[in-house]
Amino acid sequence: MSINGTTKRKTLSQSGWQIFRWPLLMALANTVGLVTALVGDGLYDLISWATLALTLVVIVAAWRGWSAR
C-alpha cells in the first residue's frame, strides 16, 4: 500500500486553534442566527436568516472546491 502525497504535505501541520478557528466561527454564527430570530422580528429575523444561510453558502462553496488549488 503506497501512501501517495504525504511527502509534499508533511511540512504542514496545523495546531488545534488553526483547525478549529473556522468551525468555531461557524458555530458562533449559528448561535447568533438561532437566538436573534427568537428575540424579535424584522431586523432580528434578517440577521438570523443571513447568519444561518451563511452555513449553507459555506457548504456549497467548500463542496465546489474553494480550497482545491
Binding site: 501541520s13 468551525p23 427568537l38 424579535g40 422580528d41 462553496a61 467548500a62
Partner: protein, 383 residues
C-alpha cells in the same frame, strides 16, 4: 490537542459505534422532520384555520357557551384544555375521555368573536398527525418518546466524538477541503467531515432541544410535585369542587391580574396535568417570538372564580417551552423555515456519507483508517 494513537483509536471506535446505533433513527427523524417544519402551512391548506379570516381586535364571545357546545358534541368526554390561536380569532376546546387521558382527545374549534362552531377535520387523522406521531414517539407513545431521548443522548456522544476525531484528521488539510479527484471513499469522508463540522452548531441545538422535548412528561411531573403541590397545599383535605365556576368569570379575574401586554394563551381545567385539583390554570403569554413561549400561569379557584395566584414558570419549564421553536424552526418566518429544511438536508448528507463510509469498511482495514486520521487524512485507501 495531540492525541496518542490509542487515544485516536478509542475515540474513533466511540464515534463509529454510537453513530451506528443512532443513524437509522436519526435518518427517520430528519426525513419525518422535514415536512413537519412546514406543518403550519400544510395544516393551513387542510384544517380549520383556512375558514377563519384574520380580524384585528380579537373576540369576546362567551367561553362557557363554547365549552357547553363542546360537551354536547362529545357527550362521553370532559373538557380538559382550551387554547387561543396565536394568530387568528380561533378558540380550541379539547375534550378527552378523562381529565388525565391524553390519547382519546377531540378538538372543537370556535370563532372567538361569534362563538360559532368551526368544522375541522379530526386532529389525529391525516399525514401530518401520523408524521408527528412517528417523529416524537415512533408510534409507541411515552415509551417511544423516552426511547428517542436515549437515542438523543447517544447522538450527543456521536457528535462530540466526531469533533474529537476531526482534529487529527484535519491536521494537514485546510478547512472545508473536499477532495473529489481521489477515490469515492475519500470524497465521502471529506464531505462527511466538512458538512458535519460546518453544521455542528445547528445540529447540537436541534439535537439537544429534541432531547429536552422527549422529557416533556417528566418535566411536567416535576412541576406538579414542585409547584402545583405548593398551590394546592392550603386546600389540603378539601374535596375537589363538584360544580365549577364560570370560565368567563375565571378568565376575567385572571386577566385583571395579568401584566400589561400579555395575551391569553390557554386554560387547563382542575385535575388535569397542568393544574391543581382546585384551580383553573389560565396561561398568559407575551408578543415577541421569545415571550410568546414563556407563559405565565394564573391560578383561579375553580369553586369561587377568584384569583389565587399568578406566577412565573420555573427555569426547567421555560427551557422546555423554548425548546419547541428551537427544535422546529418555526419562529422566524418562511425564510428561516426554508433554511431549516436545507440544514436538515445537510444533516441527512452527513448521516448518509457516514453510512456509506461504514458500508465501504471491509475494503479498508482498521489500522489504515486510524492511520488516515492520525496522518492527517492524506493516505488513500487501496481501491
Amino acid at each position: 490537542m495531540a492525541l496518542s494513537q490509542t487515544g485516536i483509536r478509542r475515540w474513533y471506535l466511540v464515534h463509529k459505534w454510537t453513530s451506528l446505533i443512532c443513524t437509522a433513527f436519526l435518518l427517520l427523524l430528519c426525513v419525518t422532520g422535514l415536512p413537519l417544519i412546514f406543518h403550519h402551512e400544510i395544516e393551513e391548506l387542510t384544517g380549520a384555520h383556512s375558514s377563519i379570516e384574520q380580524v384585528a381586535g380579537g373576540g369576546t364571545a362567551s367561553l362557557d357557551t363554547m365549552v357547553e357546545d363542546a360537551k354536547r358534541r362529545a357527550p362521553a368526554q370532559v373538557p380538559g384544555f382550551l387554547f387561543w390561536d396565536s394568530e387568528k380569532p380561533l378558540v380550541a376546546v379539547v375534550t378527552a375521555s378523562s381529565l388525565t387521558d391524553q390519547q382519546n382527545i377531540v378538538i372543537h374549534y370556535y370563532d372567538a368573536r361569534s362563538g360559532a362552531h368551526v368544522p375541522a377535520p379530526p386532529h389525529d387523522e391525516g399525514v401530518m398527525a401520523f408524521l408527528l406521531d412517528l417523529h416524537k414517539s415512533l408510534l409507541m407513545g411515552l415509551p417511544g418518546t423516552l426511547f428517542l431521548g436515549l437515542i438523543g443522548l447517544i447522538f450527543a456522544v456521536a457528535v462530540v466524538s466526531g469533533v474529537v476525531v476531526y482534529a487529527p484528521f484535519m491536521r494537514k488539510l485546510a478547512f472545508g477541503t473536499v477532495r473529489k479527484d481521489r477515490s469515492p471513499r475519500v470524497r465521502s469522508l471529506d464531505t462527511h467531515n466538512m458538512v458535519g463540522i460546518v453544521t455542528l452548531g445547528w445540529v447540537m441545538v436541534v439535537g439537544l432541544t429534541g432531547l429536552i422535548l422527549t422529557m416533556a412528561t417528566p418535566i411536567a411531573l416535576i412541576w406538579q410535585i414542585d409547584e402545583l403541590s405548593e398551590i394546592s397545599a392550603p386546600y389540603e383535605g378539601k374535596p375537589p369542587p363538584t360544580r365549577l365556576a364560570s370560565l368567563d368569570t375565571a378568565v376575567a379575574a385572571a386577566r385583571a391580574a395579568a401584566p400589561g401586554g400579555q395575551k391569553l394563551s390557554s386554560v387547563a381545567w382542575p385535575g388535569t396535568m397542568f393544574s391543581s385539583k382546585h384551580h383553573y390554570m389560565i396561561a398568559f403569554s407575551g408578543e415577541t417570538p421569545l415571550t410568546e413561549r414563556l407563559i405565565h400561569p394564573a391560578f383561579v379557584d375553580a369553586e369561587t372564580g377568584r384569583l389565587t395566584e399568578i406566577r412565573d414558570m420555573p427555569w426547567y419549564v421555560k427551557g422546555l417551552f423554548l425548546s419547541v421553536p428551537l427544535h422546529f424552526g418555526d419562529y422566524g418566518g418562511m425564510p428561516l423555515k426554508i433554511i431549516w429544511a436545507l440544514l436538515d438536508i445537510a444533516a441527512i448528507v452527513v448521516l448518509w456519507t457516514g453510512l456509506r463510509l461504514w458500508f465501504g469498511r471491509r475494503r479498508v482495514p482498521i489500522e489504515k483508517r486510524v492511520e488516515e486520521l492520525r496522518g492527517g487524512g492524506v493516505p488513500e485507501p487501496a481501491e
